[in-house]
């Protein structure tokens, strides 16, 4: 039985570009720090196949999409500003988020 994670995140990148790599590194660090064990990250490279961008209406990369929980939220950029990411994803930095 797998437990459905509280945070289902999708990171859109375009190849191993500097911003994409940085965005991933930052995202991973933030999640490990604040959401350990409660998240999944799906990395989608838009170069192949780009059609994947349609559903989430991606305008630029890197873009982080919070698919779960509702509402869907998007953050564009390399996620280097941790505070802004936490706000954007509705994560309370002081306590562990609940499902």
């Amino acid at each position: 039985m797998s437990i459905v994670p509280a945070f289902k995140l999708r990171l859109y990148i375009a190849g191993h570009t500097a911003k994409s790599v940085a965005a991933f590194a930052n995202l991973h660090r933030i999640c490990e720090t604040h959401l350990a064990g409660q998240y999944t990250i799906e990395v989608i490279d838009l170069r192949e196949p780009p059609q994947l961008a349609v559903g989430d209406q991606i305008l630029a990369v890197p873009t982080l999409v919070r698919c779960l929980s509702e509402p869907i939220k998007k953050i564009i950029g390399d996620l280097s500003n941790e505070a802004r990411v936490l706000v954007g994803l509705d994560i309370k930095p002081s306590t562990q988020a609940t499902a």
Binding site: G15, A18, V21, H28, V54, A60, G77
Partner: protein
């Protein structure tokens, strides 16, 4: 165009959607403004298309990334917190982690570095800090327990990857190479040991210069030259081949057939001693370079053994022929003195006696024959009478030498034959008393006697038969002693005495095999 009529709810939803799109665009613009976006995704009729927005530098970065992804060496970049910010395909394979699960993790979570010593680690850290790069070998222990040898090259990341400080490492798995190197080292050690401890001389030669490249310790011992003295010399200079032309001939042969063997070469040591050696030379390819290996075996011992065998063969041949000559003489004498009607019987009987003595000698490895054993075999026909009518009386463990064994054996045989025909063993009551002893005064003497009694009345024979010659002068000659016969009416008596020296073998000493010069 007339605006479409919408319900209040639909207007609300559309408004919300537009609001969200606007937020997205605002977010995008902010990101571009902060320089955090790489590319724009523009929808057109064919679907979304990615447009990079950072110009040449971004393209160059991408190109660099693609290159890194394709190289066969593992590439890992970490930020200043040791978090993995980049892994290429080779690194995924090396560590067994997909990039998506490796990214963001601490490097230490996917592998442990093992250093030969803490000092080595400190030195690497210091060098990286001071010079911004480090190159060296270390060992990685992976989470699945695999241990891999890594050849690594690390560079400081100064301003790439979103401004993060960090490190880019290019790693090559050299486990297979290390393993091979270890195997080569083991093999090298093994063969070295063999080379060092071989009881054959081994010389390694350069086919081009014909000079010695290496020599094992046994070779240096054999020749009396030191290793340094051997290296750089040619074979003829160390007395292995006669001269330069012999040497050239050997190398020509080697080139033609790749192997040359000399069964027996005279070798002259530094001290001028001659030694017989067997030389086997082989031409090998050592990773493309031809080398010659000569195995040189000292065959002095083997030759000595061969000589010894030859000598023994000659000796056996000599003895066999001597024995045949004795048989021939027997036949001649038997024919001359004996009754022609009984010739075959008499001759066969004598040959039997000779053969019985010979058997004893062979059984004792030519080490002589015990007196009691000799008496027993020569009186084998009267085995049942021994202890009653045939009394045997003498000390044990006296060993007759070969000549004495043959002479006394033949005499006993003749005495027994005579006793059975005419003497004490020709009737039902006569007795024979056989005795021998060793006395010390005046000098060590071996004596043996044969006394008959109770037989028919004895008269001295009218003519001397061959039997008398055998028990008389022939027995005397075999021990260089004296034999006396008396034909008393009560029975025949025979006494033989000779020096112990000419008769007996001192116990335990081996009868000397002939090693005379005449056999050479």
């Amino acid at each position: 165009m007339k605006p479409k009529r919408l319900t209040k709810a639909a207007i609300f939803l559309e408004n919300q959607d537009l609001r969200a799109r606007l937020d997205d665009v605002e977010e995008m613009l902010r990101a571009i403004g902060r320089g955090e976006a790489d590319a724009l995704v523009i929808e057109n009729g064919a679907g979304p298309k990615v447009y990079t927005i950072e110009g040449d530098e971004a393209e160059a970065n991408r190109f660099r990334s693609d290159m890194l992804a394709m190289v066969s060496d593992a590439i890992v970049a970490v930020d200043d917190n040791e978090r993995i910010i980049y892994v290429n395909a080779a690194a995924e394979r090396l560590y067994g982690f997909p990039a998506s699960s490796a990214l963001g993790r601490k490097l230490a979570e996917i592998r442990t570095s093992h250093w030969p010593s803490p000092e080595a680690r400190e030195a690497a850290v210091a060098m990286f800090r001071d010079r911004g790069e480090w190159h060296g070998d270390h060992v990685h222990i992976l989470n699945d327990g695999r241990i891999i040898d890594i050849e690594s090259s690390s560079t400081k990341l100064r301003n790439g990857y979103g401004g993060l400080g960090g490190r880019l490492s290019v790693m090559r798995d050299v486990s297979a190479r290390k393993k091979h190197e270890t195997q080569v080292a083991i093999s090298e050690t093994r063969y070295r040991r063999l080379f060092e401890s071989a009881h054959d001389g081994i010389l390694i030669l350069n086919p081009g210069t014909r000079k010695i490249v290496d020599a094992n310790p046994f070779m240096t011992q054999m020749l009396g030259y030191s290793h340094a003295e051997l290296v750089g010399r040619e074979l003829f200079e160390i007395g292995l081949l006669k001269d330069e032309s012999a040497s050239q001939e050997m190398f020509q042969k080697l080139r033609a057939t790749r192997a040359v063997r000399y069964d027996n070469l005279p070798l002259e040591t530094r001290a001028g001693q001659h030694q017989d050696v067997e030389v086997v030379a082989n031409l090998y390819d050592e990773s493309g370079d031809p080398v010659i290996q000569c195995n040189i075996r000292d065959i002095t011992e083997r030759r000595r053994a061969e000589e010894h065998v030859k000598l023994l063969m000659a000796e056996v041949n000599h003895r066999a022929k001597n024995l045949l000559a004795v048989v021939q003489a027997f036949a001649h004498q038997t024919a001359k003195y004996g009754d022609p009607a009984n010739f075959t019987e008499q001759l066969s009987d004598r040959i039997d006696g000779l053969a019985a003595g010979q058997d004893l000698l062979v059984r004792n490895h030519w080490m002589g024959v015990d007196v009691a054993d000799l008496v027993e075999v020569q009186l084998a026909h009267f085995k049942d009478l021994i202890g009653t009518r045939v009394l045997i009386d003498g000390p044990p463990a006296l060993t007759l030498n070969m000549a004495a064994a043959q002479g006394i054996g033949m005499a006993l045989h003749e005495l027994a034959t005579n006793a059975a025909k005419y003497g004490a063993l020709s009737n039902r009551v006569g007795r024979v008393h056989i005795a021998w002893r060793v006395t010390d005064a005046p000098k060590p003497t071996f004596s043996m006697s044969w006394q008959e009694s109770g037989g028919p009345v004895v008269a001295p024979p009218t003519r001397k038969g061959f039997g008398q010659i055998v028990i008389g002068r022939m027995a005397e000659a075999s021990v260089e002693g004296r034999a006396e016969m008396a034909f008393r009416p009560s029975g025949l008596s025979w006494d033989l005495s000779a020096s112990v020296e000419n008769t007996l073998v001192s116990t335990g000493s081996r009868v000397q095999m002939r090693t005379g010069n005449d056999a050479r």
